[in-house]
Symmetry: C2
Subunit: 361 residues, 2 copies
């Protein structure tokens, strides 16, 4: 079991990860003095598969609980779903000692976190992420959001959970494509911050893909620690430190959007975005051919795509102008200058972007 | 012109009040570096009456602007209205240098503030309150909210504005009932914190009711200073210091709700709630007969009701159990122990509450 702290003064919290930690949830919550009544937002699959363990752990420590099931699709991340939950929650919340449990992947985490942040101007919540992507990324850092018709994550808050509990056992039933796409974010952490993790991934990629428990425990804890460190120093993305977490995301988002979020899922698109970003670094002389090669090989070995297929080139270029991180007309890229080292550059010439993207077709 | 600071570290801001200050808005905003494009949420009456002054002040300093009109009723404080505005705002927000202007009374302030707090996880906004109630109370302190079917203000955030600009000239066209009901909150500030203000009100109530500019300027600035001071020391109502602002609200809310928010408006109900609360204080020997008399006289002279009519007694008692400030089964009252001095008491016996309420029938 690993124990990592996100240090944010009054909003600090722990990330507990490891095999079987779900059984320890009740005991952990008791210590937190978080309330007495758990309102668990999840989907029907997770409830049927892990619900009993969760229930027992809560019951053993005297908590009451109820489950709220939401459909397991991005469509659940909406203001109308939020309204439905808020309406339901008021009926359950009689003693006013409620807390919310986000029990699921990124969609449920974002939706439950957002709901918690606005119910009675802020209700305590915890994250119990069940996918690798949520465990290494979205459950940590307090970004919550729902989508608008006009774009993803346009309505949200910064609102920290009181605990993140990542049980590695959840990952055993994770479909391979989801595992692989999460590895894009894992590789991202290695490239932006951690040469040691990069070497570990190079050595153990086969075991990771085979869901070796020890390997999964290691990478979940290591990635969580990196994200916790960055978030601790720049909670609300005001200092620019969180920006490096967007490595691969400028073109990655554009590829994802140009494929209507269907051709590639988030991780696959980010993998391609990192390859494009490294191409730009190489052309600017920031990244050595050797390092570029190592990144390319690792992305391929993770099972991520190395070429863009079935997405229109021009659509990607158009979409990249709408990146929400652009301020005014400037673009902004996180560029690798080595393994474990990145820098932020604005106003990358369009020709260079086009050239780097072209190489991935 | 008066200038008051709300001190909240990174979230500090100024409250500017006085006659004609709307004309200075553009200049103030320029200094704040708040963005370039104003999204003004207001109603059609305010736009037609004061829109030109606002437009000119913004234009003179190079801001662009657009108006979003919402109906002037409590119904506008809804998640569905929030969704409509968010959808509209994305179309206007091309340069991503938007800020939101809450130009109206409490309903618009709450709705606009809430929308600002969630659009792109927080967009700068300012309050330009146009009613006395909003100027002395709701525009200050960063409480934002919309209503759910199940109750008022159940979805919201703590999110501070970047500026509050209170032009006394708005109050000249305020209907008398609105002015009078706001005076309940003004008297509240005097009783909980400020014997000097209480004496001022005793001396000048006639001029205040007649909307004398000097008097209105004085009370707006004085009340804003009291609220700013309390909020500065307990931004998120975590330390219990903000609790004293609920003087008169425990039974006031119950009277308001028992009358279905129609028989009495907020201020009138709070006036009655303060009278009940003072009755309890008197019975507990906390408040002298003289001080009780002075409070009763001032409330009556403000034109506020001194007796509950057309609301069912039992309904009020039932409603008071649902006060959102109750934790568990305990009730909590803010009780005056003099003019300018209050204390917080829990578990007031029901018989005492009934007796104090009975006296107001």
């Amino acid at each position: 079991m690993k124990n990592i702290k996100v240090s944010l003064k009054d909003n600090s919290y722990k990330i507990i990860s490891g095999s079987g930690v779900l059984r320890k949830l009740g005991a952990r919550l008791k210590k937190l003095k978080i309330g007495s009544d758990a309102y668990i937002i999840t989907n029907s699959y997770l409830k049927s598969k892990f619900g009993r363990i969760l229930e027992k752990s809560l019951q053993d420590f005297g908590f009451t609980f109820c489950f709220k099931l939401v459909p397991d699709t991005e469509k659940s991340k909406s203001l109308s779903q939020t309204a439905k939950i808020l309406s339901d929650i008021t009926a359950y919340d009689q003693k006013k000692k409620i807390f919310i449990v986000a029990f699921g992947g990124g969609v449920i985490g974002d939706l439950a976190g957002f709901t918690a942040s606005i119910y009675r101007r802020g209700t305590p919540y915890i994250q119990v992420p069940t996918t690798l992507l949520a465990q290494v990324d979205s459950s940590i850092g307090g970004k919550t959001a729902v989508d608008l018709e006009q774009g993803k994550n346009l309505a949200g808050t910064f609102y920290q959970p009181r605990l993140v509990l990542s049980d590695i056992d959840f990952l055993k039933s994770l479909p391979r494509r989801q595992l692989v796409s999460a590895l894009a974010e894992v590789i991202k952490y290695a490239v932006i911050k951690d040469p040691g993790l990069f070497i570990y991934l190079e050595k153990n990629m086969g075991k990771i893909i085979a869901k070796d428990s020890g390997c999964l425990e290691f990478i979940v804890a290591r990635c969580a620690a990196i994200k916790a460190d960055i978030v601790s120093r720049d909670e609300k993305e005001e200092l620019g430190l969180r920006t490096i977490l967007n490595f691969g995301h400028t073109l990655g988002h554009a590829i994802e959007a140009a494929g209507s979020f269907k051709t590639y899922n988030h991780g696959e698109a980010i993998g391609l975005g990192m390859l494009c970003s490294c191409g730009i670094s190489r052309k600017l002389g920031l990244l050595s051919p050797d390092d570029l090669k190592r990144i390319e090989v690792l992305i391929r070995r993770a099972g991520l795509p190395k070429r863009v297929k079935r997405v229109d080139f021009k659509k990607i270029i158009n979409a990249h102008y709408h990146d929400k991180k652009f301020i005014g007309a400037k673009n902004k890229f996180v560029l690798a200058s080595g393994i474990g080292r990145v820098m932020i550059k604005e106003n990358i010439p369009l020709e260079l972007i086009i050239e780097a993207l072209r190489e991935r077709f």
